[in-house]
């Protein structure tokens, strides 16, 4: 069926060519170029080339467009020399007398320079100039605007691409290529609405192969393999020469372990270009989006082997080497990519970041390499090292699996740097990313205090290392994220996501995704809140599975994914259930888990905050609080808390109750309320600080220290906080903790560094290290011989050379 149809198309094309040849004397040359373009869109590259050649031979008015198209075709088929020759001839002509060229010819010049830009980056500047000149020459011409958008997007410059496509759409609102361009921009930015935008493009031109290919990529990223294959097939039906479509088909096949289909896709790509580096580069990118970084590196290497001059191949290889922790190799390949393509934002940003990374320092623990800016690595490692070691032991026991070590974790004090390390650009919303045994995250200094918990973030990312490793990186996104959030919750009280009222309201409205489509919530959320909902929902699903089937089921599921089973297969083999049945079970479990709260929350409309009895009671409580009607406010807060005991938002009832208790002088009640809140909210900076103070006032030194300890995972940079914790540790005779805290104070270079170092010397002595104490105090006195407290300590230490201080 497929073969017959192809023959039919070929016959049709041949007829068109013959017809076009017959028309050569009738002075209707524009149709030749139009015909050629139509053939290109259908993947009839040989026939298209014949038509373009004819147009050039006949010296038709659009011959430059035809020549540019021939150069593009040669490039697409891997004939770089021919592409350069053809494009060079246009460029030469343009440089002689381009100033007088028509807008269409200027577009042709721009296209030629884009082809030349593959080997000569400066040609890309010329391409931009030519397209801009075309726009100036004919402001109603849509083609140069689309070409500009394509060029910008190719260099990861989404804002300029968007502006160009928008201009094109202003001229022609339903232009399919411009609509597709906008969809590509949305996809690039990870913004919601990509799929809808692609569909708009296909509505304008159902045979637009790149749009089908983009749809295939969307499905593939959401791990919807059947849909991806169908979309790629449609792209190829429209244009059998689409390397991107072959790549999507190949990536789909490869991710499904379908070697026959993969070989077919590879052969299809080779039929277009005998050395299809782009095909491998596309697959490398696709599989890296499935977190298969090692395989992505292998595909990148194949791409480079096929075309060592391809900046894209070099770039994708370098980026994935960096993700695997092969910093030197990654830098070398990225440098080569950047030399060939100096306008590529990702390469430039990443190389800049690597320069910055050279100023970082590494602190090693038994199984981890902690890499952070030199000024703060010692401080962070003092807390993170023990936490990661604890997490490793805990996760290794739970998953019966030990990832290879060392595991590298990089912390960036600028969120933009973390973002560049992850996706090449600033603006990524995430806090951390796991590439397997390379973890990357924001340092606590990257965000305002109280905005995130860096301990739970590190634990979350390390959990990915286990789930990725145990499943050979085949775990679906929803399951990996769900397990990571679940592991956060198991690590410390309050860590991990909390249920938002809107989340529960969305459940009530039937607005949560079914498990079969939960990946969509991560990859292509349909509304801004859906990503957050999906994290929490996935964690609850994992929690339910563990509760119903036991912890070993989680391990068996990961192993089943590793063995190549898809989600329905995993559910069937491990849980003896189906996705639909599991979804029903989850719904029932969910209703039981949140029974009280669901009764007080109205179904969500999809916009604005959740409504219902809880929201109105909470609002009433706050209003009463403002009116200083304390008793009534207390009662309202208590009612609200009873309705939604898990709520940990900034207006949480527990915080209101703490304030009221404090106002009436009931410190114990205030502490109890604050403790309920800090046990739910991992980033509760102010609540923990207040809890620490009140506990201290109540003589609860241990509780105060615990609250300060929690703050360290929110904001570890305040020397006064560390000094206070050190004092509490002293009072608890917890000498190791006191020493850790005194060291932290010194590392933070407080205003009074001498005093801090004196205190450190004391702590060293108390912790049983008089030699270190003596070295420290001598250094203090070297700087300040008149420092009398330090003098006294020196004399004391000399009296107790072995034993340290009591």
């Amino acid at each position: 069926m497929k073969r017959a149809r192809t023959l039919g198309l070929f016959a049709l094309t041949a007829g068109i060519v013959a017809c076009a040849q017959a028309q050569q004397d009738t002075a209707r040359p524009p149709s030749l170029v139009s015909l050629g373009e139509a053939l290109v869109l259908r993947g009839k590259l040989t026939e298209a080339d014949s038509v373009f050649r004819l147009a050039v031979t006949r010296a038709v008015p659009e011959r430059r467009s035809a020549l540019a198209a021939r150069a593009e075709l040669a490039s697409r088929r891997g004939n770089a020399a021919e592409a350069a020759r053809l494009a060079g001839s246009i460029a030469d002509e343009f440089e002689r007398d381009g100033a007088r060229w028509s807008a269409a010819d200027l577009v042709a010049a721009g296209r030629a320079y884009v082809v030349l830009g593959r080997d000569d980056a400066q040609s890309l500047r010329a391409a931009l100039r030519a397209f801009d000149a075309a726009v100036s020459a004919d402001s109603n011409l849509i083609e140069p605007r689309i070409r500009l958008g394509d060029l910008f997007l190719d260099k990861y410059n989404a804002p300029d691409a968007r502006a160009s496509y928008r201009e094109a759409l202003r001229l022609e609102p339903k232009n399919p290529r411009a609509l597709l361009g906008m969809a590509e921009v949305l996809s690039f930015e990870g913004s919601p609405g990509t799929t809808a935008a692609v569909r708009a493009s296909l509505a304008a031109n159902p045979a637009l192969a790149p749009a089908h290919a983009l749809l295939a990529r969307q499905h593939l990223d959401a791990e919807q393999y059947d849909s991806a294959a169908i979309a790629a097939g449609r792209a190829l039906a429209a244009d059998s020469s689409s390397l991107e479509a072959w790549a999507m088909l190949g990536a789909t096949a490869w991710l499904r372990d379908d070697s026959t289909a993969f070989a077919r896709a590879r052969a299809g790509a080779a039929s277009v270009n005998p050395r299809p580096a782009e095909f491998y580069a596309d697959i490398a990118e696709a599989v890296s989006r499935h977190r298969r970084y090692a395989e992505s590196e292998r595909f990148g290497r194949e791409a480079v082997a096929l075309d060592s001059a391809s900046s894209r191949a070099l770039g994708v290889l370098g980026i994935n080497e960096l993700r695997l922790g092969k910093i030197d190799d990654g830098r070398a390949h990225l440098t080569r990519a950047f030399e060939r393509d100096p306008f590529h934002v990702w390469y430039k940003n990443t190389l800049d970041l690597l320069d910055e990374l050279q100023k970082f320092r590494t602190v090693s623990t038994r199984r981890f390499q902690i890499v952070a800016p030199a000024a703060e690595v010692d401080l962070l490692a003092a807390y993170l090292g023990p936490l990661l070691e604890e997490a490793y032991d805990s996760l290794a026991a739970r998953y019966e699996y030990q990832p290879t070590t060392p595991i590298r974790i990089e912390l960036y004090r600028r969120h933009a740097d973390f973002s560049v390390r992850t996706v090449g650009l600033a603006g990524l919303g995430a806090l951390g990313v796991s590439f397997g045994t390379v973890l990357v995250m924001d340092a606590p200094s990257a965000r305002d205090p109280g905005s995130f918990n860096w301990g739970s973030t590190a634990w979350h990312e390390l959990a990915h290392t286990f789930t990725l490793g145990l499943s050979a990186h085949r775990v679906p996104r929803w399951f990996s994220e769900g397990l990571s959030v679940l592991e956060e919750r198991r690590a410390r009280p309050g860590w991990g996501a909390d249920p938002a009222p809107e989340f529960l309201a969305a459940f009530k409205a039937g607005g949560l995704l079914p498990v079969s489509r939960l990946n969509d919530g991560f990859v292509r959320p349909s509304h801004p809140a859906e990503l957050g909902f999906s994290y929490y929902q996935a964690s609850l699903l994992c929690e339910m599975i563990e509760a119903r089937w036991g912890r070993p089921a989680l391990v068996k599921m990961l192993q089943a994914y590793r063995d190549g089973q898809d989600t329905p297969g995993v559910f069937a083999s491990v849980l003896q259930t189906t996705p639909n049945a599991l979804a029903e079970q989850f719904s029932t479990w969910f209703r039981q888990r949140f029974a009280t709260t669901l009764a007080s929350i109205a179904p969500w409309t999809g916009n604005g905050p959740a409504t219902g009895a809880f929201a109105s009671t909470l609002a009433e409580a706050h209003s009463l609080l403002e009116q200083k009607r304390a008793a009534e406010a207390k009662a309202a807060f208590e009612r609200a808390e009873a309705m939604f005991p898990d709520y940990a938002g900034p207006d949480a009832p527990s915080l209101g109750l703490a304030r009221l208790a404090r106002d009436r002088g009931d410190k114990a009640a205030a502490v109890a309320a604050l403790a309920r809140h800090t046990a739910l909210d991992e980033s509760a900076f102010s609540a923990n600080a207040l809890e620490a103070s009140l506990r201290e006032e109540l003589g609860d030194v241990k509780g105060a220290a615990a609250a300060l300890e929690r703050i360290l995972w929110i904001a570890p940079y305040d020397p006064a906080l560390h000094a206070r914790l050190a004092d509490l540790a002293d009072r608890l005779d917890d000498r190791a903790r006191a020493l850790r805290e005194r060291r932290a104070v010194v590392r933070l270079a407080p205003s009074d560094l001498l005093e801090a170092r004196y205190q450190l010397a004391r702590a060293l002595a108390r912790a049983g290290d008089p030699a270190a104490a003596r070295r420290e105090i001598l250094q203090v006195l070297e700087a300040a011989p008149g420092f009398e407290k330090a003098q006294g300590l020196l004399l004391e230490l000399r009296k107790q050379p072995q034993g340290g201080m009591p």
Partner: protein, 324 residues
């Protein structure tokens, strides 16, 4: 401990200071916004209080001119106008004698550049050229002019002279953003935090170093690019230094200190203090030789001297009792 105040003791550690009285002129300029007015006043008031209570400056040697004298009449002696500033410096020129120290601290906003660099005041501003004229009668005194205002950097080239320390909050007139130097400088010169060597006195060099470090840390903590870089000139070459030291820029600032030194009345204590100072001088000399010495020998000698110093201190405390 019996503390007998010298009038604003000018103390100097191992390097010998020019002994003499200290005179202080504090000026807070045009604030522009209430938050600046509050911050400027807080910084100046803290220096005023330290000068009065800890440096024991006499009323006639302590002048505080401010934008709004009604804000704090107990401390503020007049409105900060160009005329009042000129008159105050003239008065200090009359009251002071060669060998005295005159500390001038300007806190506020700046503008202009070169000779036209300005310290903004209610009414006409005071320019760097004005100060160059006004400081002439103070020849022979050690003048420390701290221009802790934005865009103050060009004051250095204009006012640099022998026996004169010029500190500016910025390295040039172009650094005109809001600054924080004045707050840290005020903290340094009025508290133990600025006393790097813990000798009970804060030298101008110590105060400058403290303030500069704290400014840098403030920007680093907030992940911001620093927009103020303080400099100090005291070698008269007209070029400020960001990191002054014991030689070149910094050598004079190192000898000018603020604080009260205890003058022991007990001859036993006097002798012990004298011996301790001699040991401190030996430590200073040893530190200078550090780079040319074997590290083990250096550490051994350092510890010996420090233990001796500590022992002297213990002996002093045994007589005088512990510090309050």
């Amino acid at each position: 401990m019996i503390a007998i105040g010298l009038a604003a003791l000018l103390a100097v550690a191992p390097q010998q200071p020019a002994a003499g009285a200290t005179h202080v002129l504090l000026v807070t300029g045009l604030s522009g916004e209430p938050r600046f007015a509050t911050a400027f006043h807080a910084a100046a008031a803290s220096i005023y209080d330290a000068a009065k209570s800890r440096w024991i400056a006499s009323d006639s040697s302590l002048v505080f001119l401010a934008e709004d004298p009604a804000k704090d009449p107990a401390r503020i002696t007049g409105r900060a106008t160009r005329e009042a500033l000129a008159a105050a410096l003239l008065k200090l020129g009359t009251r002071s004698a060669p060998g005295d120290v005159v500390l001038i601290v300007l806190i506020g906003h700046g503008s202009g550049q070169g000779a036209d660099s300005r310290f903004n005041l209610p009414g006409p501003d005071a320019t760097a050229a004005d100060f160059a004229t006004w400081l002439i009668p103070l020849a022979g005194r050690t003048v420390a002019l701290v221009n802790a205002s934005s865009g103050s950097g060009d004051f250095v080239a204009l006012l640099s002279a022998k026996d004169r320390i010029v500190v500016t909050a910025t390295k040039s007139a172009m650094e005109r953003n809001e600054i924080t130097f004045f707050e840290h400088f005020a903290k340094a010169i009025t508290s133990e935090a600025g006393d790097a060597d813990r000798d009970g006195r804060v030298t101008l060099l110590e105060a400058f170093g403290f303030a500069r470090r704290e400014v840098a840390k403030g920007y680093q903590t907030k992940n911001l690019l620093a927009t103020e870089h303080a400099i100090l000139d005291d070698d008269g070459d007209g070029k400020g230094t960001a990191e002054p030291g014991a030689t070149g820029d910094g050598a004079l600032a190192r000898t000018v200190a603020f604080g009260v030194a205890a003058l022991p009345s007990d001859p036993r204590v006097t002798a012990l203090v004298t011996e301790r100072r001699a040991l401190e001088a030996q430590v200073d000399a040893l530190r200078r030789r550090k780079s040319s010495m074997d590290s083990t020998a250096y550490e051994r000698e350092l510890e010996r001297l420090l233990v001796e110093i500590a022992t002297k201190s213990a002996a002093i405390r045994a007589v005088t009792g512990p510090k309050p």
